[in-house]
């Protein structure tokens, strides 16, 4: 457990020393979201309708940006080898890395989303639901993405391949996440969607680190 905290601290420290990477993903998120009104038109009713989907899709894409860097630097400089050879189970260290990835690239999206939601004329209730869905959903994205990042480690064309592998697996998260906000806006209540999203997260917390660890061991061999 202590090693897990150590690796989270290390990755946060590294992120602090290369701030530009974190900020790039954030600005990407903002720009993509802001492009939609320009492409579709500023009509408030229409914007309100597309807001959940747009914000969620933009969050998916912004998460994808950082995914490839989840294990690649550690793989390149041999740290990953040392992690695999450390007496601490690799699964714990991988869990730490996923948590750090979420803190660096998922959590800022959650915090930024309500501000961007205002651009789409969402009311306070809808913004609240949006934040909750992203809060439950972005860890899920990091967890599933980690499997893809580990599978494509050190492969030529890994970045494009990574999105090909991971995006189809993001479909349920997108449906329940954006759907919850939609359901809230149309007065159906977001409870059902949210509990399904949380169930998915629970499932991923159990299986994703395990699959990621297996994929990493294969990549190291």
């Amino acid at each position: 457990m202590k090693s897990m905290l150590a690796i989270i601290r290390r990755d946060l420290l590294l992120a602090m020393r290369r701030k530009s990477e974190v900020l790039t993903a954030l600005f990407f998120f903002m720009i993509v979201v802001s492009l939609f009104p320009l492409g579709i038109g500023p009509e408030p009713a229409l914007l309100r309708k597309i807001a959940p989907g747009v914000l969620w899709v933009a969050a998916l894409l912004a998460t994808m940006l950082g995914l490839q860097r989840m294990f690649a630097p550690d793989h390149a400089d041999g740290t990953l080898e040392q992690m695999a050879l450390s007496p601490t189970p690799l699964g714990l260290l991988v869990g730490g890395k996923i948590a750090a990835h979420w803190l660096v690239s998922g959590l800022p999206l959650v915090l930024l989303a309500p501000v961007l939601g205002l651009q789409f004329d969402l009311d306070a209730g809808a913004l609240g639901v949006l934040v909750v869905t992203l809060l439950v959903g972005t860890p899920l994205l990091s967890l599933i993405g980690a499997i893809g990042a580990a599978l494509t480690l050190g492969i030529r064309g890994g970045g494009v391949l990574l999105s090909l592998l991971v995006l189809p697996l993001y479909v349920p998260a997108l449906i329940f996440g954006a759907g919850a906000v939609d359901a809230h806006i149309s007065g159906l209540g977001a409870g059902g969607h949210l509990s399904l999203l949380a169930a998915l997260l629970a499932l991923a917390v159990f299986f994703a680190p395990w699959a990621t660890t297996a994929a990493l061991r294969i990549a190291l061999e």
């Binding site: 499997i147 391949l161 090909l164 189809p168 697996l169 479909v171 759907g179 939609d182 399904l196």
Partner: protein
């Protein structure tokens, strides 16, 4: 019982599987042709014309079996992949890679025939029907599997990485299917359902079953042929491959 297990493991080595598969392939092709001829005859000439949909509905005799196969092949692929990870047998990975293109073809065929059917039925090539949408995502999963395997140079690593992806995919397929279905009912509430044929006649059911068997035999035949090609490719440096008649000549 014991004997059986030993036998299975004997055929798990590429060397003994190769000639066995070679002997089996013609039989599966013959069955494909037999089921295909009878199945197509029933579907086109015996099955009655549908009262609402006219003659156009007959495409389901291709569409439905293709959809079944595309889902079934992914499960078989994942099963082989799992076996390969557990027992570390080389053949399992080869079988998984051999099945993937056929599965992708089936998914594509299902999408294509779905579009062909959709046009006269609903006046649109594509509708966001739950089944069509999940089929599309399944197609992406196949493409991802094939792309991942072809991007890795070392075949053993490709097998193992593909296996993990296939297993992750097989866990996700039901989740994706139900989420898409849920999404579909919320957004459209439409009653059109692609595969719910109106009051299926007995002969229609027979036609569909025969066509499914035909697709089944075809998939096995093609997968075996592809597996043989993969074995030759990967084992070129071994003695037994050099001794093969077809390699020598």
């Amino acid at each position: 019982m014991n004997n059986k297990i030993i036998n299975w493991f004997r055929y798990a080595s590429p060397q003994s599987f190769y000639p066995l598969a070679g002997r089996m392939v013609p039989w599966f092709w013959a069955l494909t042709a037999a089921f295909g001829v009878v199945g197509l005859y029933i579907s086109f000439f015996v099955a009655p014309t549908d009262a609402q949909q006219g003659e156009g509905y007959r495409i389901i005799f291709i569409h439905v079996p293709a959809s079944w196969m595309s889902m079934f092949i992914y499960c078989v692929m994942a099963a082989w992949a799992g076996l390969g990870l557990i027992f570390n047998t080389r053949l399992s990975g080869m079988m998984a890679s051999a099945l993937a293109p056929t599965g992708a073809l089936m998914a594509f065929l299902s999408l294509w025939t779905g579009a062909l059917w959709g046009k006269p039925m609903w006046g649109a090539w594509w509708v966001w029907d739950a089944r069509l949408t999940s089929e599309l995502i399944l197609f992406f999963l196949y493409i991802g599997f094939i792309a991942l395997q072809s991007a890795i140079d070392d075949p053993r690593r490709a097998d193992k990485a593909g296996a993990i992806l296939a297993l992750v995919g097989v866990v996700n397929i039901p989740i994706i299917y139900f989420s898409v279905k849920w999404w579909n009912t919320l957004h459209q509430g439409s009653t059109i359902n692609l595969t719910k044929a109106p009051s299926m006649a007995q002969t229609m059911l027979w036609g569909m079953l025969l066509m499914a068997l035909c697709f089944w035999m075809y998939s096995i035949a093609v997968a075996l042929m592809r597996a043989r090609a993969i074995i030759l490719e990967r084992e070129t440096h071994t003695e037994w491959v050099k001794q093969l008649v077809e390699v020598k000549s």
